[in-house]
């Protein structure tokens, strides 16, 4: 099956790629510009710990857990856990990541293989704690909701998942990585380099031996289901009478159960009203103030931006022009602006 990997498109980092599917289920990666980040990415506007990636063994997720500087996915700001798909593009500050992974077709094909049945099954509850899954969200009555929701927002689903998120492990990938990778952890480049072929093999085999119970349960369920069908009166369809057709009967079952997981996520436009101030970048807050006609506030915000981000001369220019505008207003009608015109 094609590997799920996430690649650095913009920004500076010693590591350009992380092969998530090589990591064990439950692996977490903190991405940011500080040395504490598991994946060191430097670019304008990238905060120390900017975002977190999570690999549940089957699906890659992203969240703006640290609420540091805003994380965009497909043009929308995200905060809660959001599933990533092939082609998903994450933007944070001046950096960008892109996911490349198995296509929906590949997943469907893979789900029909007995060995991969467990891979397409629902993740462990422990892995799901606090992590809203797309499956769970779309299993609710509002699969096409235009608002990003988390499990904790959905009353029925929230009972299944623990309300508190799992402990954040900055270097979860490294903690469970092989000794060979431990040695390579010192440098960021090695941290996210693809493992050597022999390690890849052992890692893959480790995965298969690590989940035989679920495979057995799933297989057993299928077998029981098939038996029930066979014993039902009128269930004399020829396809259920030989072992080859047993496997052909599995795909529709799995499709029904797991279709939401492979369904491409439809980007959702989040209106400014739906975003609270914490999710907006300072430049957006300044622009919003100006567009809303709050010129005094906008002038203050742009003046602050011109100091905090001197590399963008536009902020200083806007601050200067707003100051000119306000000076004119004060000259025209000092009383209309209260104390602000005293200055």
């Amino acid at each position: 099956m094609k590997a799920t990997r996430i690649r650095l498109l913009a920004g500076q980092s010693p590591g350009r790629e992380w092969v998530a599917s090589d990591a064990p289920a439950g692996a977490r990666v903190d991405v940011g510009s500080s040395d504490n980040a598991s994946w060191l990415v430097k670019a304008l506007g990238v905060k120390g710990l900017h975002l977190q990636l999570y690999w549940d063994g089957n699906q890659l997720w992203v969240a703006d857990l640290h609420n540091a500087g805003g994380v965009g996915l497909g043009g929308n700001l995200i905060r809660d856990w959001t599933a990533l798909h092939d082609g998903s593009r994450i933007t944070f500050g001046g950096a960008a990541l892109q996911v490349s992974g198995p296509t929906a077709k590949e997943l469907v094909r893979a789900s029909s293989e007995p060995a991969d049945v467990s891979r397409t099954s629902a993740p462990d509850e422990s892995a799901l704690k606090g992590i809203p899954t797309q499956v769970a969200t779309e299993d609710t009555s509002a699969p096409h909701s235009t608002k990003l929701t988390s499990l904790s927002d959905v009353p029925n689903s929230s009972q299944d998942a623990a309300p508190t998120p799992p402990p954040i492990i900055g270097a979860g990938v490294e903690r469970v990585s092989s000794p060979a990778r431990e040695g390579a952890r010192k440098s960021g480049a090695a941290r996210f380099a693809p493992p050597p072929p022999d390690e890849e093999l052992s890692s893959a085999s480790g995965k298969k031996t690590g989940i035989p119970k679920r495979t057995l349960i799933m297989g057993g369920s299928l077998a029981v289901a098939l038996l029930v069908v066979l014993l039902m009166p009128g269930a004399d369809e020829p396809q259920s009478s030989n072992s080859d057709d047993v496997s052909s009967a599995q795909p529709p079952i799995q499709l029904e159960v797991h279709e939401p997981q492979i369904r491409p996520r439809v980007p959702v436009a989040v209106s400014p009203e739906e975003l609270d101030d914490g999710a907006l970048t300072p430049s957006r807050q300044a622009a919003d103030a100006l567009l809303a006609g709050r010129t005094w506030e906008a002038a203050d915000r742009y003046a602050g931006l011109s100091v905090s981000e001197p590399s963008n001369s536009t902020y200083a220019l806007v601050a200067r022009l707003l100051e000119r505008e306000l000076r004119n207003r004060c000259q025209d009608d000092p009383d209309a602006h209260g104390d602000r015109c005293v200055h």
Partner: protein, 225 residues
């Protein structure tokens, strides 16, 4: 014809000058140059085509002209590079006067010179419905990108009355509607803030509908279970 005109002009000036106290008198003139209200240095002042001098760092130039009373002297101005030289300056008239202000430092006639900048600053603020990482292009060249909150700030210099057309390049996001929206900005003769608030929407992917039909097309086994 030209020589005849010149002779008549010189004769007239001479006669006119002889009417008063003497053939020549000193007439002080003070020039102050500004660019958008700020004093401007290195502005060259010319009288009848001859340079009189350049303005100093405070935009000032004090000169004394000599000539017959009432004579008219053509005035021209050359602004430094990056500024527009004003055309059609009123000629200077050599006239004696007495200041009403007692003890005035300079009994000079003051003349204001304006040299507006040749280009103006445009600060462009673009808000694109929260859509991040969209390139903004002008004449096919990317000049900015929307940030994580879907806004872009950039500035450029333009000649007054110039016009630019900026495009939000949505080529990488085919699901966005409208595709590649444009905005045309016309530069006034002053620095200006342009605000572009572009509403963008995300169209649903058609694949989603196709997938929905899949269960009905499949075997009825799951339903029976």
């Amino acid at each position: 014809m030209r020589s005849l005109t010149s002779i008549l002009l010189i004769t007239a000036i001479t006669l006119f000058g002889c009417e008063d106290t003497g053939p020549t008198t000193n007439y002080p003139f003070s020039f102050t140059a500004y660019a958008d209200g700020q004093p401007l240095s290195d502005v060259q002042i010319l009288a009848a085509g001859d340079p009189l001098g350049n303005t100093d760092s405070e935009g000032n130039l004090l000169v004394t002209l000599t000539g017959p009373e009432g004579a008219s002297v053509p005035l021209s101005v050359r602004c430094p590079e990056g500024y527009r030289s004003p055309a059609g300056q009123r000629p200077l008239r050599l006239q004696r006067f007495t200041s009403l202000t007692q003890g005035a430092a300079e009994n000079a006639i003051s003349r204001r010179i304006d040299c507006p900048p040749a280009e103006r600053n445009a600060a462009i603020i673009l808000r694109a419905s929260g859509m991040a990482d969209l390139p903004i292009t002008i004449r096919g060249r990317e000049v900015a990108r929307t940030d994580a909150s879907g806004v872009a700030h950039f500035s450029m210099r333009m000649a007054p009355n110039g016009q630019i057309r900026l495009i939000i390049d949505t080529a990488s996001r085919p699901e966005i509607r409208p595709q590649n929206p444009e905005a045309t900005l016309r530069m006034p003769d002053r620095d200006e803030i342009f605000i572009v608030d572009q509403t963008l929407e995300v169209a649903e992917e058609p694949r989603r509908r196709r997938r929905r039909s899949r269960p009905t097309a499949g075997p009825s086994l799951p339903t029976r279970l």
